[in-house]
Amino acid sequence: MSVTREEVAKIASLARIRMEDAELDRMVPELNNILDWVEQLGEVDTSGVEPMTAVIPNTLRLRDDVVDAIPETSGGRRDDVLANAPAAEHGFFGVPKVIE
């Protein structure tokens, strides 16, 4: 599997990452190297082997339906949340105008 220059440009644009031509020149072979490397896994015959989701037996843990139980995952910290925003006003994030 490999990606073309057009595909890389499109993925960058979907992720809103600006990419100059010089960067694309570098990025395309880099990505293809990574894809080739991963593709080596294809050499292993996995027919009849169940897909595995984790290397250790583990199940998804669920949380109780409690508001603000743990500070790290609680609301009520607007200043923290807005601290790194390029623009924030009246408690809102400010972003370049997007209109449908």
Partner: protein, 499 residues
């Protein structure tokens, strides 16, 4: 059999409709964080570091949201998938800080189910119809954008970001705006019975994406569909279908073709228009979310979900008809909304115990009272009525007096008016205001004897076969008794005396 068709220049067209309903799950905290879901808070005050997608945060699913999705699946008779998984749906937008929505594309938690929309002759639904449901999956809601607060910026409020949604995807089984409207209403009713979504469309707790395509009547091929996003009322869902079907027919007949695209509905102009800005947004590059293990449901969890389900709308309606002997109309009206049947069942139980009869014996009387008499009185009083006075106990007492023949229907209304104004005891009101009817046979007999003596000619005519005159005697008697005689007693005595 399609009853809804569109007459075009080249013939008749029919419409194929599928709906994706997004229902906000009723829970205290968000799907993957502990931030509150309460509506109407100050902007960004209910946003955790998880919801804001700060680096290093990991999502942990809220058990209650999973439970509500499973219970909803059971309520639509759907397959519950004991193994499901979360996927990332990647797109870039200012209301989605993660850059992807955590959703379930490949392995949804709920598989195929169905619901029944009831026949409604007037609306053009000739008989009950089963509408298939493809799946329900759980996903995150996005934030809210405000465009009109600043000249060059849009404002973003992430309070809604990360609240759990159920996306309920129907099969393309609907063929008219009326069917789609009935489907949304029925789904809303089921969600509210189950308690998994408050169904508040004004606050956006429930919104629909409407998929519409058209084809020539008799054709079995599906046409190209469009998807109109975020339609937030039953009326608008129906309007979108009408507008979009007409637009597609005109387009095709003018030699064009329908483009598969996302559209928006503009209620002010009553038209849909293309959302060009999202053109390449469809390339979602879904993949399993590496932050979340597969969701595996224990049998005990599933059993608990099943055991906690309430009686559902269809079952309740049938029970009202079969066991309580209500008319189909009354049964349907009473079971449509959670609040309505709640009030009815409380009043029914209070009335039955007040009268000392089984519920089935008084259900019709209570249903008529609850559906037409009581709301009528409440409405006629307007602001003078204090709804807090409309207790089940007071209404049950009035119904009991009426059942015993102590008061007439008219007097029941009058007493209820006083109750709503003052909150006083209905029996005390009846005594004080003299709002009681006479069942004393002696007084009624005396009045009737006088009337018979004074109208010998009419008595002759009646006995000669002019049955209609019976009404005249009833009227005269009621007049003589100043309207306070028990009509059943009057009828009986008149029949005996007139022979």
């Amino acid at each position: 059999m399609t009853s809804y068709t569109i007459q075009g220049a080249t013939g008749e067209w029919e419409v194929v409709i599928g709906l994706e309903v997004h229902a906000q799950v009723t829970s205290n905290a968000k799907l993957f964080s502990g931030a509150s879901t309460a509506f109407g808070a100050e902007p960004n005050t209910q946003v955790s570091l998880v919801d804001a997608a700060m680096p290093g945060m990991l999502p942990v699913p809220n058990r209650e949201c999973i439970r509500q999705a499973v219970r909803t699946g059971m309520a639509i008779e759907a397959q519950i998938n004991k193994w499901s998984r979360f996927d990332r749906k990647n797109y870039f937008y200012a209301d989605l800080p993660q850059g992807y929505q955590i959703s379930q594309l490949y392995h949804p938690i709920v598989g195929e189910g169905q619901l029944v929309i009831e026949a409604d002759e007037k609306a053009g639904i000739p008989e009950d119809k089963v509408i298939g449901i493809e799946r329900i999956h759980v996903e995150q809601d996005a934030g809210k954008l405000m465009h009109d607060q600043h000249p060059t910026m849009s404002y973003v409020d992430l309070n809604r970001t990360g609240i759990a949604l159920m996306e309920i995807v129907s099969k393309p089984d609907m063929t008219s705006p009326a069917e789609a409207g009935a489907y949304v209403r029925k789904l809303r009713s089921i969600l509210r019975y189950v308690g998994s979504c408050d169904g508040n469309m004004e606050q956006g707790s429930m919104r629909a994406d409407v998929n519409v395509s058209v084809r020539k009547v008799g054709s079995s091929e599906l046409g190209t569909r469009t998807e109109t996003k975020n339609v937030n009322s039953v009326r608008f869902v129906m309007a979108v279908i009408e507008q979009e079907a007409r637009r597609q027919v005109d387009l095709i007949e003018d030699g064009g073709s329908v483009v598969q695209e996302t559209r928006l509905y503009d209620p002010d102009r009553n038209e849909t228009r293309s959302m060009r800005s999202k053109e390449d947004a469809h390339d979602y590059r879904y993949f399993p979310d590496p932050d979340l293990l597969p969701l595996e449901l224990e049998d005990s969890f599933i059993e608990e979900c099943r055991a906690s389900l309430p009686e559902l709308p269809d079952a309740k309606r049938q029970r009202y008809e079969n066991e309580l002997g209500l008319t189909p109309y009354n049964a349907r009206e009473l079971t449509a909304e959670v609040e309505t049947f709640g009030r009815f069942e409380t009043l029914l139980s209070a009335t039955a115990s007040q009268i000392g009869k089984p519920e089935a014996k008084v259900a019709t009387q209570v249903a008529n009272w609850a559906l037409s008499v009581a709301p009528g009185v409440m409405k006629s009083l307007g602001d003078e009525a204090d709804p807090a006075n409309a207790t089940a106990q007071a209404q049950a007492k009035i119904l009991a007096m009426q059942d015993k023949g102590e008061i007439s229907g008219g007097q029941a209304k009058e007493i209820y008016e006083h109750v709503l104004r003052s909150g006083d005891d209905p029996e005390a009101i009846a005594d004080e205001k003299g709002l009681k009817q006479v069942s004393d046979t002696g007084a009624i007999e005396a009045a009737i004897d006088e009337i018979i003596a004074a109208n010998a000619d009419k008595v002759e005519e009646y006995r000669g076969g002019k049955d209609k005159l019976f009404g005249f005697f009833v009227g005269q008697t009621m007049k003589a008794m100043q309207g306070k005689a028990n009509p059943a007693v009057v009828n009986q005595i008149l029949k005996d005396k007139l022979g």
